[in-house]
Each structure stands twice: as C-alpha cells, then as structure tokens.
C-alpha cells in the first residue's frame, strides 16, 4: 500500500510539472507580445517607444533567454509565486485565492449533484422492469450530454426564476443562489456518469456472481445495490476523476451565465485580454484540481477494489 501511494504521488508531481511546462511553452510561444498588449492596456492607442518596451521587458524578466525565463518562473511557481497580472498588476496567486472559494463551492455542489443524479438514473434504469421506463431513463444521459451548458442555464433561469420565481436568477448570496448554477454545472457531468455507470451496471448484472447472489435468495434490489453496484462503480469512479476537469471548464460558462464571481469569470476575462500570467496560473489551478481529484480516485480505488493492492498473492 505504501509503495502504491508513493507511486501515485510521484505521478501527480510529474503531471503538474508537465502541465506547467506545456502551458509555458504554448502561452509564451503564442504570437502576440504580452508587453505590447500591456503597453496598449487601457485601450487608448499611444505611441510607445522601443526603449520603453525594452524597459518593461527587463522589469518582467522577459528579455532573458527563454530557458532562463522558464527556470526562473518554474522556481517562483514552486514557492507559490505565479507572477503578476499584466492587466491589473495584482499578484496572480492572490487573485486566484480570492476567487477560489466561490468556485470551489459551485464545483463541489455541482460534483455532488452530478454523482447523485448520475447514480440515481443509472440505478433506476438498471432496476426497473418496465421496458419503456428503462428506455426513457437510459436515453436521458445522451440528452443531458448533448445539451449545451449555457442553454440549460438560460432555460433554468427562464423557467425557475422568471416564470415561477422560485430561486434567484443571478448573484452568489446564500444557498438559494447556488442551486441553479450547481444544477446547470452538474447536468453534463451527471449525464456522462450515468452513461458509464449504467453500462457497467448492465454488464455487472450479467456476471455469474449475480446469479450466485440470486440463488442465495437475495432480492433484486439487494443484488443490484450490494453486488452489482459496487463492482460497476469502479469504471464510473475512474471517469469521475476525469470529469473534474469538465466541472472546472463548465464553471467558466456557468459563472458567466449566472453572473457569479469566481475563477471561471477571471478565466473568461484574462483569456480575452491575453493576460498570460493569469491564464497560466489558472491552467496550473486546473491541473492541481485535476491531479488532486485523480489522486483521490487512485487512493480510494483500492478500498473499493481489493484486487488493486492485494493482487498476485494467490494462495493455493
């Protein structure tokens, strides 16, 4: 078990480093000079001399060779310094820290909701004996996965907030304003989860050990929940780790649609104005979230599936 954890941790660190390097390469080799953008900041077109540009470059360390810049920034990133925003001059780490709680709240609520919805649909679909209901339940995921997030959000606002007046349409005050954004965010993720879970449930229910359980006199509900679901949850669980990325990406749209503050919002703005240090900071945040989620999946997985850590030791 110790080795297993150590290996997973090492992999996590490698993924983070790769994410940093890749985002550095992509963002800094991108056409478009951040210094010129900065100089043009404010909107008015002013004449800036080449000397002034060079001075700014020197200030930000952008005149050094690329390799040196990379190493400098990597070293700084390791100490938590992600640079400063080209647009506002704020420290990137402070910006992210300020916006993170709101987004964390949203994505956690969305993730939990996605898990709940996805499992419920898959379990109900596997359990029902009415063919029409099964068909209906199992076609829900494809609908959910193909509906665009912004459209679902606007639809919910239209119906729930404007027509029925049940919940606030925008803002981020209290749990009532969290319901619709979280639901909007959860839908596509829950759809993918439901699809994977339903498929593996269907396969699990055809496994011989299910027949053994039925032959013990177990009810269908018991067989589905105690035997099939546990086995079928393994692939769904792995997919959930990957879907954390979806949740973060979804927060960009959801926060915009519901006018919430958060990491998603600053992502949208900083990408538009090519605020590279901020964008890179956000990429790293995404990578950290992704790595943490998958690390969690990897650490919980052996608890769900004993074959991962006790494999190979077959007794005779």
């Amino acid at each position: 078990m110790g080795r297993y954890v150590a290996r997973r941790l090492l992999q996590a660190v490698l993924v983070l480093w790769a994410a940093y390097t890749l985002s550095f390469a992509v963002l800094y080799l991108l056409p478009g000079d951040p210094v010129e953008i900065m100089a043009a900041g404010g909107g008015e077109v002013t004449e800036v001399t080449e000397e002034q540009l060079d001075a700014v470059r020197a200030e930000y360390g952008l005149d050094a060779p690329l390799a040196e810049q990379y190493l400098d920034r990597l070293g700084a990133a390791l100490t938590g310094d992600l640079g400063t925003s080209v647009q506002t001059g704020e420290r990137v780490s402070a910006m992210v820290a300020e916006q993170l709680p709101a987004t964390l709240q949203l994505t956690c609520a969305g993730g939990a909701l996605a898990l709940l919805l996805g499992s419920a649909v898959a379990l109900a679909g596997a359990h029902t004996r009415r063919p029409w209901l099964r068909q209906l339940l199992l076609s829900l995921p494809s609908v959910g996965a193909s509906a665009p997030t912004f459209w679902v959000g606007l639809l919910l606002i239209q119906l729930v907030s404007f027509r029925w007046g049940l919940l606030p349409a925008i803002g981020d005050q209290g749990w009532r304003s969290l319901v619709l954004p979280a639901l909007t965010l959860a839908l596509p993720t829950s759809a993918v989860l439901a699809q994977v879970f339903a498929k593996s449930l269907r396969d699990a229910l055809r496994e011989p050990y299910v027949e053994t359980a039925l032959a013990k006199g177990a009810s269908r509900a018991r067989v589905t929940l105690r035997h099939a679901a546990r086995n079928a949850s393994l692939p769904a669980f792995t997919v959930f780790g990957v879907l954390v990325g979806n949740l973060l990406a979804g927060s960009v749209v959801v926060e915009t649609v519901f006018s919430r503050t958060g990491v998603g919002r600053i992502t949208a703005t900083s990408v538009t104005v090519q605020d590279i240090p901020v964008v890179q900071g956000l990429v790293m945040l995404g990578a950290v979230a992704f790595v943490l989620a998958n690390l969690l999946v990897d650490l919980v997985y052996p608890l769900l599936d004993p074959r991962v850590t006790t494999g190979g030791a077959v007794a005779r």
């Binding site: 080795r3 297993y4 004996r129 063919p131 496994e207 011989p208 050990y209 027949e211 053994t212 359980a213 039925l214 032959a215 013990k216 006199g217 177990a218 009810s219 018991r222 035997h227 546990r230 086995n231 769900l304 599936d305 004993p306 074959r307 006790t310 494999g311 190979g312 030791a313 077959v314 007794a315 005779r316």
Partner: protein, 559 residues
C-alpha cells in the same frame, strides 16, 4: 442414506413434469427444453447428462426460477414439495432459493463477488433468510467454510476471492449452497472448470456433505464419467428432451438410446479400450524436431509482496519428433504452459537451451525469430476468447497469411477455404463470425488458423478442455488425422489424462516445474512409476470403484 423428515417419504422432493423453456432469439423462438419430466427423491443424487445446448442447464435454471428475465417462456410443472415453482411468484421463489434449494454454479472463478470478502458472501445467505443476526452469521460462515473443506477458515473468510485458488473458491460456493441446509442442491457442472485431482476432492466432499445431511442433488454435467461416479440415477438429455433415464448402472452398462451409446463412446474417461484417434507412432530413430535442454524459468515475485521469486519451470528437458504427440500433463501451476511457451520462444527461458530442427533458437531475434513463428504455431484452450469476434472466419484463418505477406487477398481466401475443408467445416463458414459457431466449430477454426502457415510443430494448450465430450472426441480425431496427413509434431498440454490417452504417443508428467515421469503412453497408464502419476490416474472420473464392476462383463461399459 438417512431420509430427512418428510410427510410422505414415497413422494419425490422435486417433480418436473413436461417442462418447456424457449428463448426468443433474433432467428425466432428457440425451444431449449421440450417437455422434460424428471423426479428427484429426498436425499437422492440424480445426474442430468448432456452436451452443451442440450437444455440441461436451462432445466436447472428453471428449477431455481433463474431463467433470464424476458424472452423466455416456461411451461409445465416444477413441483417442489408442494409448490409449483413454474408458477410461484418472486417472493415465494426467493424464500426457497438458498433456503430450500441451493446452487453450486459452474465456474468458481467468476461466481463470487470479486470485491466482497468470502466470509461475508457465505454469511449473506443466513442474513437473507434471517437464520442468524450479523455477528452470529459471521461466526457461522467460518464454520460453514470449514465444513466445506476450506483450510484455515477464519483466515480465508477475511480474504477476497482472487486470493483463493479455483478449488478453494468452489469450496466457498459449496459452503454458500449448503449454508441454510437446503433439501435440494443443483450442481451445474460444479467442477468442469477445475483440474481433475481438485475435481475429485471437491466432488468427494460435496458427496459426503450432502449424504450426511440427506440433501438431494441434481448434478448437471457433460461428463458421463462424473455422472457414473456420483449419481444413483442418470438422465441423459439431448436436444431439449430426456432420451433415457434409469439407474446409473443400467444406463452405463446397457444403454438403450443411440445417443447414450454415442455419448458413452466419446466419453474419454469411460473409454479404457484401444484408442481410435491416435496416429501411428513416429519412427523413434528420427532426430527430434524440437528439443528442450534443462529449461528454467524464474518469475520475479510481485513487487512489494516480499515473496521469493517463483521457479515456474525448474530444469525441464524433453524432445518432440515429427509426426509425434508428446503430452505434457499436470495440474494448473505445474509449469506446463510456461514450458511450451519457452519451446516456441513466446517466453524467454531464464536458462537452458531450445533446439529446433537442429538449430539453437534460444537467442533468436528479429526476422529469424519471425521465420520460426511460421514453423511453430499454437492452438489455445479457449476458442471463445482466442478468436477475434470482429473478424469473419475467413479473416481469422487468413490473418497469419496476411502477416507473412502470403499472396493477394484472393489467394488467401482460397487458402482459407481449403483449410476449412481440411478441418471439416463447410465452405460457407468462411463468412460467418466466431460468435455464430459452436465451441467445437470455433476450435476447428483455431486449428485451421494454426495450420495456415504449414507449421511443423503445433502446441495444443488444453485444446479440448473447454469443449463438451462429443466435441472433444471429434477434435481429437481431427488432430490425429491432420497429424497423419501432414506429419505434424504436437506438444499437447492437458490436465486431463483421459484425453491424453486418446491422442498422445508419449507422456511427460509435470509437477511443480519438474518432469516427474516420462514414457510411452501405454507404459504410463499401465505401470505409473511416480506416486503423483498414480494420483492423477485415480482422479480420472468414471474410474471409481462401483458395484457394477465385477458383474457380468457384458454390462461393463465397452469402448
């Protein structure tokens, strides 16, 4: 045998009358069971024998009320102690399953929940039927495991299925089936996935247990030998009908239905007479086609387990001549497959030498190794898994040709058709998918694929152990015919001595990575020198001492 307390001892415990089961398939309605009637008395052991597809498993499942939902129609009566199981509602069936009727399923490797400790899986029966509370069920599960012959039951109860061997898993399943002291146990091919020696121990144990508790057993099997050893009465099933039923001695000694006679002829374990299948022996003066010298294979222990490395093969030397079959016999884990894989260079030996056709091939690499692949081919055990389901039969057979760039597509198809004919399949099979073929037909396709490149050596890795007896006999005949026609050398891996006797010229018995005995097939069977060989021989089903032996010789089953 003690009879359990019954209101009417003369009344059968289970009485199946005119049972019909049909499945809706894409091709229409298919009748799997067509009017089966069968009684099982309290405490009686009845064997239901037939090939796969005969409807024997459907009959067993119908009794459990476990036919696949939807698409299945069942008609007739299944009277179990006054309840008609064919009409009982789910609640009633549930109260009987596990409590009054236990099931020992077919394949122990997949019949236990892989993520649950085995103790809990045994205890679950007691919990479902409220025979114990949680703590008591846990304790009784250990006792039940012990009763089923699981050593160190308290330790095993806390383990997961993958940590147990196949034989132990089957014992766990027996503990589950017998946990609530049911009055009837349906054993659906309980040991056909296990080695013969393990099979015998498991069946002995099941027999002792059910006899001591007076439990009736409906033993479903394709192996007449197993039925002969275990059952008081035998019912022979073919194409959905019971064609013959009677006391075991009568059915085996004086079969009346042609199908029973055919089944008796093809049952390898009951067939002690001369071998029809085997090709004439090769000239012993010929130099060997392939020779292994002191092969050793050491596998490192799984990382982090702290266990010492495994010596899977510990110094094996053997030789196979052209036109000869050398059988490599042993239990699973004895190193026979690893030896064969080293012989054809699919696994690199840790030490030792392999000489193929006079040339040392131990260190062959690249294109030279590829040329060797043309001359040595493999037929695998499981024809269900070893054929790509997306390929047509023509593509399966043509693939080795394509890999070696033989001819254009048209030539390869022609060659595939020719090979099909050679293995006794009709030419129209060419365009079908493996899923549409029976196990025996698939194995024929696998053989055709192995022959595509005209090899000199074919390694047959348990080629018939996944097939039922009738297909087994046919595949063995086919292999012998091909050997005679093409002068092939076979390395035939098997755990089943009864099969080996029909095909091999020489036998090497392996145990724990070593060859403990080697010799001509006749000598090994007549005068086994090593105790392990004798144990293997004794484990062949159908050889158990029975009352019918020593009776009128014409009643003894003949070859």
């Amino acid at each position: 045998m003690t009879e359990p307390q019954e209101r009417d001892p003369a009344r059968p415990l289970l009485s199946i009358a005119d049972l019909r089961v049909s499945y809706h398939t894409r091709g229409g309605v298919e009748e799997a069971v067509r009017g089966v009637s069968l009684d099982v008395a309290p405490g009686e052991v009845v064997a239901l024998v037939g090939e796969s597809g005969s409807g024997k498993s459907s009959t067993g499942h119908a009794v459990m009320g476990l036919l696949p939902a939807g698409g299945v129609r069942a008609a007739g009566r299944i009277d179990f102690d006054g309840t008609d199981l064919a009409r009982a509602d789910e609640r009633r069936l549930r109260s009987l399953r596990g409590r009054e009727i236990g099931l020992v399923p077919q394949d122990p490797t997949v019949s236990l929940n892989p993520v649950q400790r085995v103790g809990r899986q045994v205890a679950e029966v007691l919990l479902i039927h409220r025979l114990a509370d949680r703590a008591e069920a846990r304790e009784r599960a250990v006792a039940l495991l012990e009763r089923a012959g699981v050593p160190e039951p308290a330790v095993r109860a806390r383990q997961f299925p993958h940590q147990l061997s196949g034989g132990l898993r089957q014992r766990v399943l027996i503990a589950i089936a017998l946990a609530a002291d049911p009055r009837l146990v349906i054993a659906d091919e309980p040991t056909s996935a296990l080695d013969v020696t393990v099979q015998r121990h498991i069946l002995d144990h099941l027999e002792a247990l059910t006899r001591s508790t007076g439990t009736a057993v409906l033993l479903i099997t394709h192996d007449l030998g197993v039925a002969a050893d275990r059952a008081r009465r035998i019912a022979v099933m073919s194409q959905g009908r019971i064609v013959e039923v009677g006391p075991a001695e009568r059915v085996l000694g004086d079969p009346r239905h042609p199908y029973t006679k055919a089944l008796l002829r093809s049952a390898p374990s009951l067939d002690g007479g001369p071998v029809a299948a085997r090709a004439p022996a090769a000239d012993p003066e010929r130099p060997p086609l392939v020779r292994a010298e002191d092969l050793v294979k050491v596998f490192p222990a799984p990382r982090g387990s702290g266990a010492p490395p495994t010596r899977a093969v510990a110094g094996v030397s053997l030789a196979v001549r052209a036109g000869e079959t050398l059988a490599l016999v042993g239990e699973s884990g004895s190193g026979k497959s690893t030896t064969a894989r080293m012989l054809v260079r699919l696994t690199d030996p840790t030490s030792g030498r392999v000489v193929f056709d006079g040339r040392d091939i131990t260190a062959l690499r690249g294109s030279a190794l590829r040329r060797l692949r043309r001359r040595a081919q493999i037929v695998y055990q499981n024809p269900y898994a070893s054929l790509n389901p997306r390929f047509s039969v023509g593509e399966v057979i043509g693939e080795p040709l394509r890999a070696f760039g033989v001819g254009p597509r048209r030539v390869r198809q022609a060659r595939a058709a020719e090979l099909l004919e050679r293995v006794g399949l009709p030419a129209r099979t060419l365009h079908r998918r493996p899923a549409e073929l029976s196990g025996g037909q698939r194995q024929r396709v696998a053989i055709a694929r192995a022959l595509a490149l005209e090899p000199d050596l074919v390694v047959c890795d348990e080629p018939v152990s996944a097939l039922d007896v009738t297909s087994q006999a046919q595949i063995l005949d086919l292999l012998a015919t091909l050997q005679e026609q093409l002068g092939l050398a076979y390395l035939f891996i098997s755990h089943d001595l009864a099969v080996v006797r029909r095909i091999a010229h020489r036998v090497a018995v392996m145990r724990r990575g070593e060859v403990v005995e080697e010799g001509p097939v006749g000598r090994i069977f007549a005068e086994p020198a090593h105790p392990y060989t004798r144990e293997l021989l004794a484990a062949i089903p159908g050889t158990r001492a029975r009352p019918r032996q020593g009776r009128d010789p014409k009643e003894v089953p003949t070859a």
